[in-house]
């Protein structure tokens, strides 16, 4: 019995040694690999510098795959709803137009009030019947009620652009911009929206709206641009600290 056990131990010894050797090999390789990657990051090695040396045909294909991979990583790492929305839109956009349209529709259903859903709402604002979804102007206004600047300006501006590209009537354009009259604009950027509103009101013969829009347009002309306001806010925060 003892002899049997002894011979079993002798037979098992090479496998134990082999296992230990492989363990040391893998562990040391992991440490050295991490060291190389850490150093490479310190030297700001970018895969793009290496990709630039590839032939153009392969390079574009590889770049596209890398971009999709990076966006997938970003999506996996996203923790807030906003990050998830932004990452999923970017990923769908990099994949195909069809995917992007589907993602926009999904985002409207899933996150109907998130500020980051704005590109999806803009995309489907007054979209034709053939589209996956269509957002009416009142529904769009409803969504905008939850937004603050700069997203609010972005949704007004983006929405106006989308409506113009769909060649909607000036009456509908006017209806879209009307909430601007109730708004207290904080930046110079709004001025061009008021110019647009006053012109549309003039076209439609709505003097009341035109007059109000002109006044707000003038008031906006005295305001600073958004970047300057932001810089002033940050400077004020710094001095407070």
């Amino acid at each position: 019995m003892n002899l049997q056990m002894q011979s079993g131990r002798i037979k098992a010894a090479p496998f134990i040694i082999l296992g230990a050797v492989f363990l040391v090999y893998f562990t040391s390789d992991v440490i050295l690999r991490q060291f190389v990657l850490y150093r490479a990051a310190g030297q700001s090695i970018n895969p793009n510098t290496i990709l630039d040396k590839l032939p153009a045909g392969i390079r574009d294909e590889v770049r596209q795959r890398i971009l999709i991979g990076e966006l997938k990583d970003k999506l996996l790492a996203a923790t807030t709803d906003g990050e998830k929305i932004s990452a999923s839109i970017a990923l769908a956009g990099a994949t195909s137009d069809k995917d992007l349209q589907e993602k926009y529709a999904e985002i409207i259903d899933k996150y109907p009030s998130a500020p980051e859903s704005a590109p999806a709402f803009i995309n489907y604002l007054m979209a034709p019947d053939t589209a996956l979804k269509s957002i009416s102007i009142p529904r769009y206004h409803e969504y905008m009620k939850q937004l603050h600047d700069p997203e609010l300006f972005y949704t007004f501006d983006g929405g106006l652009g989308a409506l113009k590209s769909r060649k909607v009537s000036s009456r509908e354009l006017l209806a879209f911009l009307l909430p601007l009259l109730e708004l207290k604009a904080g930046y110079r950027e709004y001025q061009r929206l008021y110019v647009e509103l006053s012109e549309l009101a003039f076209q439609e013969g709505n003097q009341d709206v035109e007059l109000k829009a002109r006044k707000l347009e003038e008031a906006c002309g005295k305001l600073s641009f958004y970047d300057k306001v932001l810089a002033a806010q940050q400077a004020a925060k710094k001095t407070k600290k």
């Binding site: 090479p14 040694i17 082999l18 050797v21 492989f22 040391v24 090999y25 893998f26 562990t27 040391s28 390789d29 440490i31 050295l32 690999r33 060291f35 190389v36 990657l37 150093r39 490479a40 310190g42 030297q43 090695i45 970018n46 895969p47 510098t49 290496i50 040396k53 795959r65 890398i66 999709i68 991979g69 990076e70 997938k72 990583d73 996996l76």
Partner: protein, 261 residues
């Protein structure tokens, strides 16, 4: 242990052969020629090599010693690839194995002998380079700088084991060719595997390349600069010796199942 030393002694005695003596003289001459070469450095536009080999911290690597290492690698491949196949062909191995010497002892003795020959070549060239450098410039290399150059020898240990392993499967010339091809392929796979590590994790090729990379030693690790007391140096030593052990274990397995007649 004595038996291993016996095989080791027989192997090292080859240094007396005219061909090896000539090679030793050549290595000394190369050592003298490369003594004035500067620090090894890569520019940003060197691409992946710049990322793979980091030289900006710790003791620098001298280009002359890298040349000496390359020369020693040639000697290592030449001697390790031919030694065992020659012994088998000339039946010397039968004479040795009829004595109470196990095949593993023969293999380890051969490995240690060839490694010792290679170290002799490296040290001869390195000492010449240092002395010529001192004679020409009046500067003596610091202990830290010399130690860094000697760590290059860590790359030699697995390389000799690898060549011996391949020589247990193939005849001498084929072993030399296959070893050289394997080393070049290792460099390529190592570079690709580090490159894909810089890519996003979601790419499916990452895991596949990593699995493949474990079958090939990463010789780039031996050229990175590092602190002498850190975990990196310990890992480097562990990496070198574990790889050596793996190659020798495979060689031992092949020697035990191989028919020597």
């Amino acid at each position: 242990m004595l038996k291993i030393f016996g095989i080791f002694e027989i192997t090292v005695k080859k240094m007396k052969e005219p061909a090896f003596a000539m090679l030793l003289v050549i290595s000394v001459l190369i050592g003298a020629c490369v003594s004035e070469m500067e620090q090894l450095s890569f520019k940003q536009d060197s691409g992946l090599l710049f990322g793979l080999i980091s030289l900006e911290q710790g003791a620098p690597l001298l280009a002359g010693f890298v040349v000496i290492l390359l020369m020693t690698i040639i000697v290592a491949i030449f001697s390790a690839a031919t030694d065992i196949p020659k012994d088998i062909e000339s039946r010397v191995i039968m004479v040795v194995l009829t004595k109470p010497v196990k095949r593993i002892q023969y293999l380890v003795g051969k490995y240690l002998g060839i490694t010792a020959i290679c170290i002799c070549f490296f040290l001869a060239a390195a000492i010449t380079a240092s002395v010529v450098h001192w004679a020409k410039t009046g500067e003596i290399y610091t202990v830290q700088l010399l130690a860094r150059q000697l760590f290059l020898l860590l790359a030699l240990f697995p390389l000799v084991a690898l060549t011996i392993m391949i020589s247990t499967f193939l005849p001498d010339i084929s072993a030399m060719i296959v070893t050289t091809a394997y080393v070049f392929f290792s460099l390529l796979i190592s570079a690709i595997s580090v490159f894909v590590d810089m890519l996003p994790k979601s790419l499916e090729i990452v895991s596949l390349v990593h699995v493949l990379a474990y079958f090939f030693p990463n010789f780039f690790y031996f050229f990175n600069s590092c602190r002498f007391s850190g975990i990196v140096l310990v890992s480097l030593i562990a990496y070198s010796f574990s790889m050596t052990a793996i190659f020798l274990l495979i060689a031992s397995f092949q020697m035990n199942r191989r028919d020597m007649i």
